[in-house]
Symmetry: C2
């Protein structure tokens, strides 16, 4: 029997993501295939000025953890069909936005700070995404020797794209 | 001007952490110094049975991201004094539990699954911590070449401890 207190957690956005991506299709890996993934996508994290003093000392960190709300993702599901996948997977083995709690987490590179605005790269969120927390990324967060379950066989979007392109080229021959 | 919709995000715990740590002092780095940090601390993530089907496919992953609520941390602050530090730091440059939104994030190693219970190591949360989300840790989350701002000079708890021990030994000479 699982019991936790409190039964409900209420959060307020501390800021907002500014991103080149306007609609959900813009961040769909099937439509948005880049050889470098999202790592070269630049954007900003704009913090509400009332929280700006909490950004003190942040400029020394190369990478930040951004926890945000999937505000456009609709209801959560327990089984989801990831991009390029034919099988449904348990949602907790995916990074699908349609989760029981609509929380997202992305590690971005910090490029600079101007007052309450952080310039970052590695943005995969939509314009207007509510930011819930920012944490420094430390060596404890950097793990090696990963096994990646179903993602291994399925490959990344980039590799998938390479495979599809190769197959298309081979078909043309 | 920062505006986001919705103005409030409501989350429900999907499960609970089982941990050897009962009270906040147990996870205070000043009291709980281990040569390996928390990486060898074993515990369980017990998921509410209604969400258990979302765990399908999870066993193939070596590492999981656990997002949880700091349910014992009291009100948030914008400036906090980290363990071993004399200066107050901006909260978003720390992993302090006393944050504007009481969200925690820890990467754990998955050791096994039995129905709705995940056996993990790397636990640094308290017994009874509400779990909000579980995500697979992927190569995109594993960053190299980190710079760690004020943490670099201050060192990890383990290194601090080593330094304190060395100084104590030198004093005895």
């Amino acid at each position: 029997m699982v019991r936790t207190e409190p039964r409900e957690i209420k959060l307020k956005p501390i800021g907002v993501v500014h991103s080149p991506f306007r609609v959900r299709e813009d961040v769909d890996p099937r439509r948005n295939i880049r050889p470098t993934g999202f790592s070269n996508v630049h954007g900003e994290i704009e913090i509400d000025p009332v929280y700006a003093s909490g950004l003190r000392d942040i400029s020394g960190f190369s990478h930040l953890i951004i926890i945000f709300a999937f505000h456009k993702s609709g209801p959560g599901h327990l089984l989801v069909k990831p991009p390029f996948e034919s099988r449904r997977r348990g949602v907790f083995s995916t990074r699908s936005p349609q989760r029981p709690n609509p929380l997202g987490m992305t590690v971005v590179r910090l490029l600079g700070r101007r007052k309450n605005v952080l310039k970052v790269s590695g943005i995969d969120m939509l314009e207007g995404t509510p930011v819930l927390d920012i944490k420094p990324y430390t060596s404890r967060d950097s793990k090696r020797g990963l096994t990646r379950g179903w993602m291994k066989g399925s490959g990344s979007a980039v590799r998938q794209h390479a495979d599809l392109s190769r197959r298309a080229r081979e078909k043309e021959k």
